[in-house]
Symmetry: D2
Subunit: 304 residues, 4 copies
């Protein structure tokens, strides 16, 4: 395992906190683990840490920051130095900034988004426990993903962003989209684990949020997710299909503030020595929507 | 990502080479990538390296060695030193020992099995390629697993084996089985990735092989695997079910030499900071065969 | 459509009524639609009629009777005559014998079981309704089958039983098991619909009950069923597998009184002009348990 | 079982016979069972009769006729009289009109389409056979549906069409779409079996063909179907989703002549005594595309 364990949390800005909590608990099926001021903390049933989603009341939707959990304080210090050497301005969030969190470092990545790295967060465990556990708990609600899986952001200079994640943070690039001549990167899929992606970028305006992906177990769970969205009258942007990129199975939809969510299943197991798969721009629609092979207009324009 | 990338290869001893090749190509659905002397080299369709299974003609079934791929030569040297410090005797296999392989280090682990670490192996790629690839190739045969997933071995001193893998090789222990009083480890599940296990041990005679697990995508693929086994009249030891341990979906069967194979799907994503799940001996049958909740006699006695 | 619409109800004798209601509602996931005296009436979520299962408190487990719904009173009268001509003694249950039921005819079939035919039963509908319905209702519990699917009984003279169902009641025989010489029928699978079976017989003692099958949608639902059985500590006799006969996917287990239940998925669509599939006795185990290909001892001996 | 067994065959007009044969064998995965003149005959692997699809070379795409198989000659004669009494002009196709077929009656239904009823067709069986059969044959290609499932046609007067199928041919109406005031039928789903539909109509021009549905076993097979379509570069009109109507899982696409095809899975089991489900026009999009809840423009305009 590397220094960075996983995407550990997303802080999302939402317009109506109560409507958002209702959506993230009853439709997505997360559980609330804490509330304080304008923030509500939630986790998926299969996550051990106190929260993976923080909803922050705001007058503008979008992502406040994404947080990646680091394996220990030594790794965090090592990464801190490398990030500063790369030229990012770092701040340190103090221990009581947010509920159940210890200290974190916060910095702006080349695409203008805020990222945090941390190792200290309260572990609250799961309802199946760690002694002779059943494979899933009773009383699941909604889509009931296992966990936060990845997020996708937009930005202008994806070459620099990719270099930052590979060289500074030790990610491997599993896939990329380039112009047909190979000159410009217009999509970059990055993993700090054996998953097909933990973080991805597509070419677009800096500092914008495209979607948060939640992991569900299989293609039937994607169907169940889409059924639940219709039952709750939630807008579905992309109905169940397969991605060419990552091979994952997917459906896309919006939270009440317009932040895009995804229920994502499958996707291959990646290793750092695997070659980076390249999609050329002429095949980008097949890469994204493998069956449709045509772009969905809102998919590139609807950002928060 | 850590220093050790994955379980990269198993060399299995088989009694009848041609029958074994027929089985591993037509029933399991691997492809032959090389032959030399008494050895045949095979890979699964979704693997990039030249081989993951080596069949070695022998008069006794079992595992010659398991090989784990290391990320680079520096990591390999670092690991070599730690292994020697632990007290293992190391040998170096030279470059032309086996087809398509570079140098490897070979040593006996505390349970008496041979393990190799290597970084140099010819990469032959997959039939879907790395430019705008389709999610799966045409012409798949048999069970058609994505890759070699893990192996399970038996041994006497699982505390030492676990300590070796955690402290020397940097694995994390995802699950363990202990006597009810917690004194003795009778099962240990170890991961060097985000998979639920890459290598596992159960209490039993030293130096014995329990099974090789091949990864299939989902529960329907486990059904297809079991159907194919019946169509080919291959002995199925455990029909499709779920493991409590790893939550994976599974079916077990035997190759023509009596080496046990598994088609394994799903299983959770593990992280190094997750607590180790503990199964107590009184629940061992539920841990292994979640639905049956009783042991299958041959499962502990049939070893190669 | 023929005169007989479907298997409409089973009245099962249970030893402990409250424990049985708990099991059939929380594990199987039926809903109670009525109670009167020693009987509790239940239906599956996707059934329109008032009940498909009646639990009758008794000191001996087993099946009181199976009821098949007939399309109308004219068809019922026509069938009544044919049954009497065949030599069965008929009685008429009056309208108030059981809750929500009109008149029925009751007779003993050649294997000694009681069967009823009826057309009049209160229709209570489903929770999804019939105006712009969602595909499934909220709040499902347990295995949550769509409906009662079929039952299997034992008897001695299966040739006569088969003849009765084909000639008198208009069923078609989809599959049969015979001795290798073809002389004796030891299994007979009968359908009055396009399902692979609605009623089946295997050779054994007369008047005994083998199992009630409940329909679930797919192989993942069979997995979920088996998971739920383990979570509720219900004895599973046969873990998830496929039948050769009907091709259905299945798991078998017992209600608290020892009446065997099945969660059954898939199975082909049958038509009256299809040839009857024949399984020879030497392949009977493959026909019943396609992956295991060996009999499960209790499967033939444990009857109620 | 009723007098009409099932939708037995569709004769489709295609523009380029060889391209069409290539598509129906390699993409859909039917097998050619005969050729004569401008016609090619095909069947799905799980069908017993000689053919279910006839491709007829023509300069205009569309449906020549649909044929329903009747259980015997007596039923055919009875139906013939009722059809004539309804006012349809009948012709009799002689025995050698098409390959492997006996005599059929042919008539124009109220929507202007040609329908045939027949009972005599050569039975060629399946590759798994009827003695101890495996659940599926080796060597399947393409989408490999089990069988022709249903077809959908357009017409103006759906009240009369529905009445014809219910009163004359004995179908039951499982679902309907009406204007919000309930005055006009704009969709009618009809079954002569226990399937959710065998034939359906939507309001539109008379005598036009909307699609032929092929049955696949489950939601993963729908995914596989859509994958195969992309691999063969076949235009997919509707990517995998669920219907509200029938609850079936589906993907729509076009054959090389522009005739729409569907891979259809699941769908409930219907019975003649079930109430007809009603969709109101304001919910029509949810009824057709349960997840999207918006119409796909080509879906109503692209007819052959």
């Amino acid at each position: 395992m590397g220094d960075i364990l996983r995407i550990g949390r997303l802080e999302l800005r939402v317009l109506d906190l109560e409507k958002s909590v209702d959506y993230y608990t009853n439709v997505i099926g997360l559980e609330v683990t804490g509330r304080e001021g304008d923030r509500v903390y939630l986790k998926a049933w299969d996550e051990y840490d106190h929260h993976s989603i923080i909803l922050q009341k705001s007058d503008q939707a979008g992502m406040d920051h994404m947080g990646f959990k680091v394996k220990d304080i030594y790794a965090l210090e090592k990464l801190e130095k490398k990030i500063e050497q790369f030229g990012c301005t770092l701040t340190r969030s103090s221990e009581n900034t947010r509920l159940a969190e210890g200290e974190a470092i916060r910095f702006k990545i080349p695409t203008g988004h805020y990222m945090e790295l941390y190792t200290d967060i309260k572990q609250v465990g799961t309802r199946v426990g760690v002694i002779n556990p059943h494979p899933w708990p009773d009383g699941l609600k909604g889509i009931a993903p296992h966990r936060l899986d990845h997020c996708l952001l937009t930005g202008d200079d994806l070459e620099t962003a990719t270099r930052f994640y590979k060289e500074v943070l030790g990610f491997h690039q599993t896939e990329r989209i380039t112009t047909v001549d190979g000159e410009v990167t217009i999509g970059s899929f990055l993993s700090c684990t054996n998953k097909a992606h933990d973080l991805a970028f597509v070419k677009g305006p800096d500092a914008k949020f495209h979607h948060a992906g939640f992991y569900v177990d299989n293609w039937y769970e994607v169907l169940k997710a889409a059924d639940i969205l219709t039952k709750h009258d939630v807008q579905v942007e992309v109905t169940p299909t397969r991605h060419g990129i990552t091979r994952g199975q997917t459906t896309y939809f919006y939270d009440p503030s317009g932040n895009r969510n995804e229920a994502f299943a499958s996707g291959y197991i990646s290793y750092a020595d695997f070659p980076t798969i390249t999609w050329t721009e002429d095949k980008i629609a097949t890469g994204i929507f493998y069956h449709r092979r045509e772009m969905v207009e809102t998919f590139s324009t609807s950002l928060t």
